[in-house]
């Protein structure tokens, strides 16, 4: 177990190093000059060169990367080129909202997705199954902007049940979380369905049935714990996606998450912010996967970490 953990931690560190290098390199070769964004249209050539020099952007790639990583290892993510604020401060200020929405959204995804998946598996091949699977296909392919706006319009503007966007109370969280829950539930329901179908074919289910257990007990006690394993791995990936930012939903509901920060930074070639957000979300993906793998043996004792 300990050896496994150490090996995984080293792997994770290497992955993060790779992500930082690739992102930094892509931003370096991008045909867009961050200095021009800072200097603005009125700047003289001298101003532009002066800013380039002060930010060290005139240095070769390797030097720039080494400087960035050197500072990063000391906990310094640098300052935003345009806002001049500490990147760590910008990300930290948006982290609570991002985490809250992530938890709310994954909760909704699971409730909707697992329910639909289990029902579809139990009524496999029937009209109900087909309806649910088509629904899941529609939700995963639905445009985020339209769904968010539709829910906002109906439940906040017309019915007035929830505030029209914003952040702060539980009521503010409901609509964006439900929107993301609906949009993402299709992935979970499809995975749950196929996993459940496999499990329902297993010998121990036949045994359970032969023992005369109720159907509910068979599904909840015997089938579900076994069928849910792949779903847990998927949550790990989902966490990473949410940490990378959910631009559209955040912007419609005025949710102050990381996605909006990242989107604005990309528009303006604000390299320190782009690097910071990328690394934080890469870290979350790595951590999410690691946790999913570590939790697996507790749910399924057959799995051994080696």
């Amino acid at each position: 177990m300990a050896a496994y953990l150490i090996r995984r931690l080293i792997q994770s560190a290497l992955i993060l190093l790779g992500v930082s290098f690739i992102t930094f390199f892509l931003l370096y070769v991008l045909p867009a000059d961050p200095v021009r964004q800072i200097a603005g249209r009125a700047a003289t050539a001298e101003t532009v060169e002066n800013i380039r020099e002060q930010l060290g952007l005139d240095k070769p790639f390797v030097v720039q990367y080494a400087r960035y990583m050197g500072a990063l290892l000391q906990g310094d993510m640098g300052r935003s080129y345009l806002q001049k604020t500490q990147v760590a401060e910008l990300i930290l200020s948006r982290l609570p909202a991002t985490l809250l929405l992530m938890v709310g959204a994954i909760f909704c995804e699971l409730v909707l997705g697992l329910t639909m998946g289990i029902i579809a598996a139990l009524w496999r091949g029937r009209a109900l199954d087909q309806t649910l699977m088509v629904t899941s296909f529609v939700t995963v392919s639905a445009p985020q902007f339209v769904v968010s706006l539709l829910l906002l319009y109906v439940f906040a503007v017309k019915l007035g049940w929830f505030p029209i966007g914003g952040y702060g109370t539980f009521a503010h969280l409901v609509l964006p979380a439900v929107t993301l829950g609906i949009l993402g539930s299709g992935w979970y329901s499809r995975m749950m369905r196929s996993s459940m179908i496999d499990v329902l074919r297993a010998d121990y289910i036949r045994t359970a049935r032969a023992k005369g257990l109720t159907r509910a007990r068979i599904v909840l006690r015997h089938a579900l714990p076994n069928a849910i394993l792949p779903v847990i791995a998927m949550i790990g990936i989902d966490i990473g996606i949410f940490m990378g930012g959910i631009v559209v939903v955040e912007s419609v509901f005025g949710w102050p998450g990381i996605g909006q920060l990242a989107w604005q930074a990309i528009q303006r070639v604000d390299i320190p912010i782009i690097m910071g957000v990328t690394l934080v979300s890469a870290f979350a993906i790595v951590l999410g996967n690691l946790l999913a793998d570590l939790i697996a043996p507790f749910i399924d004792p057959r799995i051994k970490l080696r």
Binding site: A39, A42, A45, Q54, T85, S251, G254, P256, G257, R268
Partner: protein
């Protein structure tokens, strides 16, 4: 030293601003209340030396003051923190007399030392101000650094003398730019790089709260030196809101002004509803949208080809793409800009004539080229209209749909044969015709990385521009504007641009907002002039 002539000139210089200073705020205005403004993007910075986007520009205007200012809702200069000023006979020395008793938000009184410090700071390369170049005419600018500007001298606590190295007719406008705002040294030293998050000025409002990514609250500066203003107790800026949602919230009575304007998809609906349309204020804007034709790239090195492209574009149809929220342009300057040439029709839409010109240039079969465009709506749609217009005269334009930064890079590097300026179009920094020339049409801007994407450089026109800007004497203002008009007509002869349209502004406000319409389409403060608007209780 001073001769009679000089003092006459001074008198003239002062005559207009002093009269204009008698701007009377709305007599019906009531103090008190709070308004809510929304924006999609978070506010970048409130440091007046750094802030340079249309969103923070008006916010900074309300937090800070400079020596000069504009009459609300107009482009007329009036003194700000300066009570009066004198211009020497040769136009090289400006002596500003400061108002006594003006206090910074931290309670300290503002003095001439602060004015010097602020100008030294904005021109110091270490500050990385995007506006440093505007102060190029001040003596010692080239040596600006930690030692400060030699051209700015403190005469006494309420007098500051600024010496220029060359006469600059736009200097008073420059002193009205946000970049020339007066800041207190101790607050800048204390906040360091975070001054943009902890601004301290002399303005009508002070920053009370800033929750990153969520909201900013401005609070009334009770000690404001202009009596009677501002009216509002506070302004709440909510950021991170989609314009469509902002409109829904306005209709629900939660928002007073959507800072990003009326979203294109909703424009027809809003204007079609009399109740809503009545709350929309329309006004001109110092903006021109244009297509640049790179004169160093064949076949655009031929003036016939450039003229042909000018005649091929159906500008009327392009304005329809943006719901008619613009008027077709005939020349680089927008109609509300002084120096605009009245009666000049420009190149009329004439595809047949354009084909003839192409044939004259030996390109009867047309040619293939690239049109660069920023990838946010409505720009790609406009590019398609341009593409169709060009196809009609045999030019095959491939659209390069890119992020803003990439288009700017290609434009600066000179690798883009044609660029549609949408989303990056020129909005004047100050209401003077010179502001539309140097960086975007002059030789200086044609250098690699500059904003003159046509790479157009005409030495004779440049000389004329310099001549015009040295005519600092207010008595020669008319003559100067005529000269500028000639410069832009010269540009049109060479046709490095296709001026396409001048955007109009449409500001929507809630029912309870008061104050004259001009305050809602203020050419300097977008979307509204926060210092003078008020709310009905």
């Amino acid at each position: 030293m001073k001769k009679l002539l000089a003092s006459t000139a001074v008198m003239l210089a002062l005559a207009l601003p002093v009269a204009a200073q008698d701007y009377t705020p709305d007599p019906a205005a009531k103090p008190g209340g709070s308004i809510t403004i929304t924006y999609k993007d978070d506010v970048a910075t409130l440091d007046p030396a750094i802030g340079y986007d249309w969103q923070n520009w008006s916010m900074i205007k309300s937090l800070f003051d400079g020596l000069m200012d504009y009459v609300p809702g107009t482009t007329t200069l009036r003194p700000g923190l300066a009570e009066s000023y004198e211009i020497s006979e040769d136009g090289l020395v400006y002596t500003f007399k400061l108002r006594a008793g003006v206090k910074f938000h931290n309670g300290r009184e503002m003095t001439a030392e602060d004015v010097k410090y602020s100008l030294d700071r904005v021109t110091n390369p270490a500050t990385q101000s995007p506006g440093a170049g505007f102060f190029g005419a001040i003596a010692g600018f080239d040596q600006a650094g930690d030692g400060g500007l030699s051209g700015v001298e403190v005469v006494d606590p309420l007098t500051v003398k600024i010496t220029l190295s060359r006469p600059d007719a736009t200097f008073l406008h420059v002193m009205a730019l946000n970049f020339a705002s007066v800041v207190p040294k101790e607050a800048v030293d204390e906040a360091g790089a975070d001054f943009g998050k902890k601004p301290v000025g002399t303005g009508a409002y002070k920053l009370a709260e800033w929750t990153l990514g969520q909201r900013l609250v401005f609070e009334k500066n009770a000690d404001y030196w202009r009596p009677g203003v501002p009216f509002l107790d506070s302004i709440v800026f909510e950021v991170g809101q989609e314009p469509v949602v902002a409109l829904l919230r306005l209709q629900n009575g939660e928002v007073d002004v959507p800072g990003d304007g009326i979203p294109p998809a909703k424009f027809t609906e809003v204007m079609g509803d009399p109740a809503q349309a009545a709350r929309v204020v329309q006004g001109g804007q110092l903006h021109t949208g244009y297509i640049t034709l790179n004169v160093t790239t064949p076949p655009f090195d031929k003036v016939e080809v450039r003229k042909a492209v000018n005649m091929a574009i159906n500008k009327e149809r392009i304005t329809q793409i943006i719901n008619g929220r613009a008027i077709p342009a005939t020349q680089p300057l927008p109609p509300s800009m002084p120096g605009y040439t009245e009666g000049y029709a420009g190149y009329a839409y004439d595809p047949e004539g354009a084909k003839k010109l192409l044939a004259d240039a030996g390109l009867a079969d047309g040619f293939e080229t690239d049109l660069y465009v920023m990838n946010t709506d409505p720009n790609p749609r406009i590019a398609q209209a341009i593409q169709q217009d060009l196809a009609a005269i045999g030019i095959k334009a491939n659209i390069q749909n890119l992020a803003q930064a990439n288009v700017i890079e290609a434009g600066g590097a000179g690798t883009a044969p044609m660029i549609w300026s949408g989303g990056m179009g020129w909005i004047a920094d100050f209401p003077d015709p010179s502001n539309f020339y140097g960086p975007i049409l002059g030789c200086a801007g044609a250098a690699p990385g500059g904003w003159n994407w046509s790479k157009f450089c005409d030495e004779a026109l440049d000389a004329k521009a310099v001549e015009a800007d040295s005519m600092f004497d207010p008595a020669k203002a008319e003559e100067r504007l005529k000269l500028w008009s000639d410069v832009y007509m010269g540009v049109m002869e060479e046709a490095p641009w296709v001026p396409v349209f001048n955007e109009e502004r449409y500001t929507m406000k809630s029912e309870r907002m008061g104050g004259e319409d001009a305050l809602y389409v203020d050419p300097v403060s977008i979307p509204v002039n926060y210092d003078y608007v008020w709310v009905k209780q």
